[in-house]
């Protein structure tokens, strides 16, 4: 990928402004148009949004939240588009939270699922079935080093729970180190590893330590990865017996606002952890399956973890998670019995295999890289234009755009972002929101996202920003 340096970019932007400013001042920004798409959803005859909202309030958890003042009733999905109850089309730039990687209702995936469902949905691993074995083999083939033993679960939380337990059993140590602002799940162990107060209930967290976040934008050491990694050593030296069970991190923090770990951080942290006898766990729940332009997020940091966890994109939305590790580490589970009733069922594993095939066949990894880079460049041009855009970051189709009311102080623009999000939705673009302060746009679309989609997204955002 060609990197246009900041200087070159500034020059280009300046040139653009010089030439187009006069023209622009004469021209009202045009309302951006959604790219064409040849699909009409079947007519919807179910309950309307208001009725659904009422039922949710009555029968579902009160902590269930939704986006938008007027939440959308999403009834149909096709590739990178979603449709509401009136058949109105939206560009899905959030992907059901970085989950739908092949595209909504991708025909190959749906066909694999339906075919398997018609044969057998569930019997458990107590009996044999080829689907689980074939998928495990295919998944292992995507892994470097000795990572070739797969455990299937039903979610990212379950995968991380299992990974943490394996690390503790393998090393005989209790302490786990995770990164502040990370998100790893919401069960007992994973809620401890998750490091944002928003997502943490007042539970007992024994054995977990949260290290400095190597955040290039807000972090105290800027982009100096190695400086942040020293905090890991500090925690080990002063907060543990000197030996730890392991370290868990995302390659790019998803829930935390698309924060790329500062360059050089992971190799340094991994080295420190290994010296303390610990295992390195890569949480690839959001960054995995080609989303970042590499197949796995950790690859771009030049490390090989001991355990990799995954979910979300693995099944294009089907409830599935997995843990991949080495035969040596996998052996710890033979000390007792670990069993997951639904995990590895034929339908979900058939879907998983179909997803891997689609990613390869449709060159989605390359697309994520090419379209993602293009999108990032265009978003950076928004940053040049609008003071409100504090930072643009990420890789491939896992991008973030942080809004601030003051570029120096980096004051989170919490109300502004809600406004922009609403406006964009009205224009037909659905994005996600995240970050500790809730001021970061999370752009994690299905990997079949096109350049035209990218243009539409940026134009819609630009249009909204221009009116503010």
């Amino acid at each position: 990928m060609q990197r246009i340096t900041a200087a070159k970019r500034a020059l280009a932007a300046q040139a653009h402004r010089t030439f187009s400013q006069s023209a622009a001042s004469l021209r009202e920004p045009e309302l951006p148009k959604m790219p064409a798409f040849d699909y009409t959803p079947p007519p919807y005859s179910g309950p309307p949004a208001a009725e659904i909202l009422a039922k949710r309030k009555e029968f579902l958890s009160p902590s269930l939240f939704h986006f938008y003042k007027k939440p959308i009733n999403i009834v149909d999905g096709k590739k990178q588009y979603l449709f509401d109850e009136e058949g109105r089309r939206y560009l899905d730039a959030f992907g059901g939270i970085a989950t739908v990687c092949c595209g909504h209702c991708h025909p190959d995936v749906v066909s694999a699922v339906v075919k398997q469902m018609n044969r057998i949905q569930h019997s458990t691993v107590l009996y044999l079935n080829h689907a689980i074995a074939d998928f495990a083999e295919a998944l292992a083939s995507k892994m470097p080093g000795d990572l070739k033993v797969v455990f299937f679960t039903n979610s990212g939380t379950e995968a991380n729970e299992l990974a943490l337990m394996m690390a503790r059993l393998y090393t005989g140590c209790q302490d786990i180190i995770s990164i502040r602002n990370g998100y790893h799940g919401n069960a007992a162990g994973t809620m401890g590893a998750t490091a944002q107060s928003i997502w943490k209930f007042n539970v007992v967290q024994s054995g977990v330590h949260h290290t400095l976040n190597p955040d290039p934008y807000r972090g105290v050491f800027g982009s100096d990865g190695e400086k942040y990694a020293k905090d890991v050593q500090d925690l080990i030296n002063f907060g543990t017996s000197g030996h730890v069970a392991g370290f868990i991190s995302e390659a790019i923090q998803g829930v935390g606002g698309i924060i790329e770990l500062a360059p050089g951080y992971l190799p340094a942290a991994y080295s420190t952890i290994k010296k303390a006898g610990g295992l390195c766990i890569a949480d690839e729940v959001q960054s995995g399956f080609a989303r970042t332009g590499s197949f796995w997020g950790f690859e771009s940091h030049g490390v090989v973890p001991d355990i990799v966890t995954m979910a979300k994109g693995i099944g294009n939305g089907i409830p599935l998670g997995a843990v991949v590790t080495t035969p040596e580490i996998a052996e710890v589970l033979t000390r007792r019995s670990y069993f997951n009733t639904f995990g590895g069922n034929p339908v979900c594993t058939a879907a998983g295999l179909a997803v891997l095939n689609v990613i390869e066949k449709e060159k989605l990894q390359e697309n994520a890289h090419v379209v993602g880079s293009y999108l990032k460049e265009r978003l950076l041009s928004l940053k040049d234009k609008y003071e409100l855009v504090g930072d643009v970051r990420g890789r491939g189709l896992m991008l973030g755009l942080e809004l601030v009311t003051d570029r120096k102080l980096k004051t989170p623009a919490k109300t502004e972002i809600v406004h922009v999000m609403e406006q964009m939705k009205d224009m037909g673009v659905l994005v996600g929101k995240g970050g500790y302060y809730g001021n970061v746009f999370r752009i994690t679309p299905p990997l079949c996202f096109t350049k035209e989609d990218a243009d539409f997204l940026v134009d819609a955002m630009g249009y909204t920003l221009s009116k503010m």
Partner: protein, 429 residues
């Protein structure tokens, strides 16, 4: 020792049948062996990898801890209602249902239909957008529950459900201590491993504030069916092992993994009272007993005449779909609402549509009554066997959740481990 539990330790034990087990098998072989009931369905021809090839791959890519049934494990490639088919098209009566999971029947047409139709429209978008399936399913589910149990949280498994229930108990009460029964199974994640009380399933990890009380096991428990005596142990634990205040108590009404052990009658009523007085909430783990399986009632806890504060469910809820749920009262839910509680896949349109179809099938096809009917017939036939063969120590359970315990000595109740394995293999053949 119960049928289920011992299968896991089978790997190194050769089968050495006692005379009784052999007699049991041979008495049928002198007459013609029993025939499978007729069934009008031909499985599709199977062209995939053979059992050996699959086993090879499993050993290589799925780790040494993945176990399986039978010396020669079965390659199950298709299912229809209560039957399974192997690679050669041979039909088997599925009396285990993928571990009490397939409630309506394998590939039940109505459930399949609902799932397939929804899969074509939308698999996943999350609850940050609206979709009717989740609300409709929640409404239908709560209509099956008594009292004030009307707020649903959807998750993806029984473990996740029990994790959430434990969190709720602790947040709501402000207390830490949880109480569960010895011989119980509640999950395989870090919190639920603590609640689980069978060493086979417990890894050596910190369990947090958990107390495992005496199991009110009518067959093996020291107090027989005396619920009061067992309940006293709960009070004891609270009085001497905690601050006097607890977060909650969790139990299955019929222990599944533990061997279809029914809690001594009247036990839950007494314990619920004790726990509530100590400030705790009562959690009913209906992962195996729910959805009409016990016949007389829709939910296992109803057989003990109690109303829990939180109910967890999975397995049968989706006929095999990865789906779980926690249902609780608005009061408890409101405490949880102080923070975000989110599950990415939980309540997705496909699983919700599937779950809703399951509820409809159970009602329409009167499955609960059917469980009662067939269950009582089955249990009486099993009891006949018990009359005939000394090796059958106990027959227990309700509806279609039954257990048969084999012992080599009825007085000592010595577990007939080898015999069980032998019988298990023969039954499959």
């Amino acid at each position: 020792m119960a049928f289920w539990g011992r299968i896991l330790k089978r790997a190194l034990q050769p089968a050495r049948p006692s005379s009784d087990a052999a007699a049991l098998c041979s008495s049928y072989s002198t007459n013609a062996p029993p025939q499978l009931p007729r069934f009008d369905h031909l499985p599709k021809p199977y062209k995939g990898p053979s059992a050996d090839a699959v086993l090879e791959k499993r050993k290589k890519f799925l780790g040494p801890s993945l176990f399986y049934f039978y010396e020669k494990p079965l390659n199950i490639v298709e299912g229809k209602m209560q039957y399974l088919f192997d690679e050669s098209g041979r039909r088997y009566l599925d009396a285990f249902a993928g571990i009490v999971t397939v409630s309506c029947g394998h590939c039940h047409p109505e459930v399949l239909d609902a799932i397939i139709e929804q899969s074509k429209l939308l698999q996943h978008a999350t609850t940050i957008y609206l979709h009717h399936a989740i609300g409709d399913f929640a409404e239908a589910l709560t209509s099956k529950l008594p009292g004030d149990l009307k707020v649903v949280y959807f998750v993806n498994s029984g473990s996740e459900a029990n994790e959430l229930a434990t969190l709720m108990a602790r947040m709501y009460t402000g207390n830490l201590e949880m109480i569960s029964l010895r011989n119980a199974y509640h999950g395989g994640s870090s919190g639920t491993i603590g609640l689980t009380a069978l060493n086979t399933w417990k890894y050596s990890i910190p369990q947090g504030e958990i107390h495992h009380v005496m199991n009110p096991d009518p067959y093996r428990g020291p107090f027989g069916s005396d619920a009061k005596a067992y309940a006293r142990d709960v009070q004891d634990h609270i009085d001497f092992g905690t601050s006097g205040k607890v977060a909650g108590f969790i139990a299955e009404t019929i222990q599944g993994v533990g061997g279809a052990v029914e809690l001594a009658p009247g036990y839950l009523k007494l314990v619920y009272d004790i726990v509530r007085k100590a400030g705790g909430v009562c959690i009913a783990d209906e992962v195996q007993t729910g959805f009409g399986r016990t016949g007389g009632h829709y939910w296992g806890f109803e057989t003990q005449g109690v109303i829990p504060d939180i109910v967890t469910m999975a397995k049968g809820i989706g006929n095999g779909l990865p789906l779980g749920a926690v249902v609780t009262t608005p009061e408890i839910a409101s405490v949880m609402a102080q923070k975000i509680q989110f599950n990415t896949y939980g309540g997705n349109p496909v699983c919700s549509a599937g779950g809703h179809a399951v509820l409809r099938v159970i009602d329409k096809e009167k499955r609960q009554a059917h469980c009662a009917d067939i269950g009582s017939h089955l249990i009486s036939r099993l009891k006949e066997l018990q009359q005939k063969y000394d090796i059958i120590g106990d027959v227990r359970g309700r509806g279609l959740m039954l257990g048969v315990e084999l012992v080599t000595d009825r007085k000592e109740k010595t577990p007939a481990k080898a015999e069980t394995l032998h019988l298990f293999e023969k039954l499959k053949e």
